[in-house]
Symmetry: C2
């Protein structure tokens, strides 16, 4: 039986000591999240994750979802009840607008607590996760009528939401999509077409499902400029909010997937289903991107969360499994063998995972805080700065944390030897589940292109310059602090590689865009290495200061923090040089090979 304990202490350290969460008390909702409230919310979220969601994770994987002949879908045993508890606890609306029944608490807090629940049960958390994305899109682009009609029920969790983008022939390139919308003259449209890979497209956990669907209005321009976004409820909703007839949208089949079996991934058929335009005609992609950007952060969090639970289980196994002896002589001579945690290679593996997990957590919360500031501050300069950074790092959060989350699930699985390959032990599921996060909401190659091709150059590179300045200033300000030298030196070296690579891109990719494409994935990971290194430097500084101020029983926590950060700087940060070397190689070799020669 897999183990999991939500890392509440680490979250609190990041929020309170690293990010100085209390400094933002002037933002709406933050005052309600005083330190004791935050801790209580985290503890309760941890409890739900550990006690309610974790026990259903393997059940969900083994049972999967079942589609019946009437096109209804049943979720795994226990999912419905756990989802109900989640909704009744107010978790779905934790950060949603109080105007529609949400609690209006910080998105940062929502992010912190969601990590625990995703670790415990990714498949289950996807149902409310998609609803939260749909809520964000309706809140931003819907009419007041639409908001009043749909948001309260969705925030309550009685109705769930979906995103319908992909069609069999198009995913990344939505300009090719064919689902069509025919205006009915009464403000509504008839939507027809097929969508695939629709998470939570059909299930038995809610009274209604609110599909957000990209379609092309008859006569609209070709390509992405002719795409509109529609609300298509599974069951029609009257003006008074009452449920009416079934709309002709149904689940044609469930996909057989590598993982996330507990989530219903549907082929959805729209047969002249009634839909309502949300946002402007032909501006659907923009509206969908509200959902998508939030969803990308959510998927990055999934990578982070999978890395965490995989780590915890690998540690538990490494402590228990007796096999062989320490290279430096038996550590437990009274036992038949030493636990494998005595071995350096096992420790190297575990510390690698952990060094990313802790920095990844800080990076997620740092980013979530930017989102809160961008959405809630009334100081224009703060909004712009936060929004710039949020936009800049969103593809890094998504691409890097999910690549690493998967890699680390694989590394953790390896600690189990043969048992890691047996489903009963649970490690295979983390690997299989984590794999999807690298793909959906824009495959990681697309994230890398988004970073290099769009985000870097936006507003004349304002965001990236601000980021470099922030990191550079940190190194400069702390360069004389001997306790931090190790961290600032490592960070500075990484930053230099990143800046040089950015410069290389500016000089070589404008005229030859293939050079940007050839560099993109390495650049994204280089950016991730530096960002996570920055998080380590911030954490090291906070740990040193906290220790100086009296650690209050946290000595071991702080010592471990500094040690894991040291490991990051020694073993992981040097990868920036390799990434830079690859980037500067350019596109020539890979473009020279003729297509037919592959």
């Amino acid at each position: 039986m897999p183990v999991f304990k939500a890392p509440v202490d680490d979250t609190l350290f990041i929020l309170n000591d690293v990010l100085g969460y209390e400094r933002y008390m002037n933002l709406p909702g933050f005052a309600d999240a005083s330190p004791d409230i935050v801790e209580a919310v985290l503890q309760e979220g941890a409890r739900i994750a550990e006690e309610v969601m974790l026990p259903l994770n393997q059940v969900g994987d083994q049972e999967g979802c079942v589609r019946h002949d009437d096109a209804s879908v049943t979720t795994p045993k226990g999912f419905k009840e756990a989802y109900k508890q989640y909704c009744e606890g107010g978790w779905l609306g934790l950060a949603a607008s109080p105007e529609y029944g949400g609690q209006g608490l910080p998105y940062t807090l929502h992010t912190a607590v969601s990590e625990y629940m995703i670790s415990a049960n990714l498949s289950l958390l996807m149902y409310p996760g998609l609803t939260q994305g749909a809520v964000a899109a309706i809140a931003e682009h819907g009419t007041d009528e639409q908001k009043n009609k749909f948001l309260p029920k969705m925030i309550e969790g009685k109705w769930t939401g979906t995103m319908n983008l992909t069609e069999p022939h198009c995913g990344t390139d939505l300009g090719l999509l064919r689902t069509k919308a025919v205006p009915q003259g009464d403000g509504s449209y008839k939507i027809s077409g097929q969508k695939i890979f629709i998470s939570a497209g059909e299930h038995d956990m809610s009274d209604n499902i609110i599909h957000l669907v990209l379609a092309r209005i008859e006569g609209a321009p070709e390509g992405v400029k002719g795409i509109s976004l529609f609300i298509v409820p599974k069951i029609m909703v009257g003006d008074d909010g009452s449920l009416g007839d079934r709309n002709p949208v149904s689940c044609g089949s469930l996909e057989e997937k590598m993982g996330i079996h507990g989530n219903a991934t549907c082929v959805m058929n729209y047969d002249e289903a009634t839909g309502y335009l949300i946002g402007k005609e032909n501006a659907g992609l923009k509206a969908m991107f509200v959902m998508m950007n939030e969803a990308r952060l959510g998927v990055g969090l999934q990578g982070q969360a999978m890395g965490e639970i995989a780590y915890q289980n690998a540690v538990a196994y490494a402590r228990e499994r007796l096999q062989g002896r320490s290279l430096s002589g038996a550590k437990f001579p009274d036992k038949k063998a030493d636990p494998i945690i005595v071995h350096p290679d096992v420790r190297r593996t575990l510390m690698t995972i952990r060094a990313f997990n802790e920095a990844g957590r800080a990076f997620m919360l740092w980013t979530a805080l930017k989102s809160d500031i961008a959405h809630k501050s009334d100081v224009e300069a703060d909004v712009q700065e936060a929004d710039d950074l949020l936009n800049l790092v969103t593809p890094v959060v998504k691409g890097v944390l999910t690549d690493k989350g998967f890699d680390h699930a694989v590394m953790a699985q390896q600690m189990f030897g043969g048992h890691g390959y047996i489903e009963e032990w649970g490690m295979s599921q983390y690997v299989r589940d984590a794999r999807i996060a690298m793909i959906y909401e824009g495959a990681n190659g697309i994230q890398a292109l988004d970073l290099v091709g769009r985000k870097l150059g936006q507003n004349g590179g304002r965001a990236v310059m601000a980021f470099f300045k922030e990191v550079g200033d940190f190194c400069e300000e702390n360069r004389n602090n001997e306790e931090l030298t190790l961290y600032t030196k490592g960070l500075k070296k990484g930053l230099n590689d990143l800046q040089a690579s950015t410069m290389w891109l500016m000089q070589n990719a404008m005229a030859k865009p293939d050079n940007a494409g050839a560099a993109s994935t390495d650049y994204m990971h280089l950016f991730g290495l530096v960002t996570l290194g920055y998080m380590w430097a911030l954490m090291a500084k906070a740990a040193v200061e906290k220790r100086a101020a009296g650690a209050n029983g946290k000595e071991e926590f702080l010592a471990a923090k500094l040690l894991v950060g040291k490991f990051y700087m020694e073993r992981i940060m040097p990868e920036t040089a390799l990434r830079k070397t690859r980037i500067e190689t350019g596109a020539e070799t890979m473009m020279e090979l003729a297509e037919e020669a592959f």
Copy 2:
């Protein structure tokens, strides 16, 4: 439906042009493998792989094996018939001794052709693969009586073999094993105990199963010094070779695994089953290592083979999938979109996989040739040199090719976007199947320790010094060849990093073995990078020479070869510096963290 075309041309290029296979015609069996025979064998092996085995691969994954109430096991539909074809074609005994019915052809040829079949159907090939290992152990350590009794039937494929090492509480540390053997006074033993993870432990493809079982003779010393190896037939065999009673050994259950569903992975229960000692009392581990070393090469080949089929399917998809436009302007303006192979990031991915596949193939065949020389040459110096190198690189073949085979299956899967996550498309299976190769026959961390802790220092480092000299000499001899500068420079730089890291280990790991453990995995991959880089340099030289001698319609093949080698030197070889940096960090940080602080 997944595609696969066996890379016969590439194999021939490696055998004929790179390794100069014809130079070894004086070795037994090699004369029978003249160039035209080799080509015919490869073509026929390719046909069986493509036409017989490939169509059963997904079936095997979906159906899996079934254990019935009587403890019998049924393999997936079609497996039995395909196995029969394989045996009737003489493939099982291709390289086995003619004395017992084998064809006595080179192991190198067996390796070449096995790659194709493993690509096509890993699970199916495991059945004969384990038999070949058991044949090797009996041939080396069995009595004449045992050889005569078991080998002909096994080489014919009528009986299959297994390796029984792992028990629930021990895998890596076999010294802990508990299965016991009680002498019966008539030369036989009663074997009792439970073995787990036994591939092909029970199935319906052969008339009998010959289990090789590690057990402890009553009263034997504790630890590895008290382990003996036994032959335990599923069905007793009379002196005349006739089948008799059922031996009390049976499959208790099948493991539910992440992949290789077509292979029966059994829990085997031995209840006073009759067994026969093979080799000497208490020398079982040594006898088993004959099997294990060959099996490790076979598992390395599995990594290689998975990388190849994953690559081919990713290329096919990248050519067909229309999505988006080239960054440098539409390449197929008449189509709705360009195929994704126009994108640099897709090409970077594909070329990365291919650069390892082609070098991996050369490395496999180079190693197999060493094995042939070591086993067949009558020139003592040649035997010693070949045996040294074979021993040295076995953990590198196993550890590096399987780590990379898995990574590359994941990268190939990524090319498919969402479709890669859907089982129907087949990419998930390659990932799930490839995962096991990193684990079994000694998890890759154990391979790394074997390399650093045992192989490096053997005979005063004679093998590694010989290898460094061979690679260094190659660089030196070809340094003035301008067409090869790119390759020799890259290789030399990698070699320098490897030599420096080896020196660091000699200076730092003798007194502090934890430094060896902390370096082991990075060192193994550093070794792999240089070895594969050496293969690229050899291939580049062969390509340049062949081109100069008149390419005879192979111009495109040779041009692509040189280009992919260039890619390896530009993008992959620089990783040696990172590995060196990590190695030189030492064990201190990872050992400092208290066990309870993980």
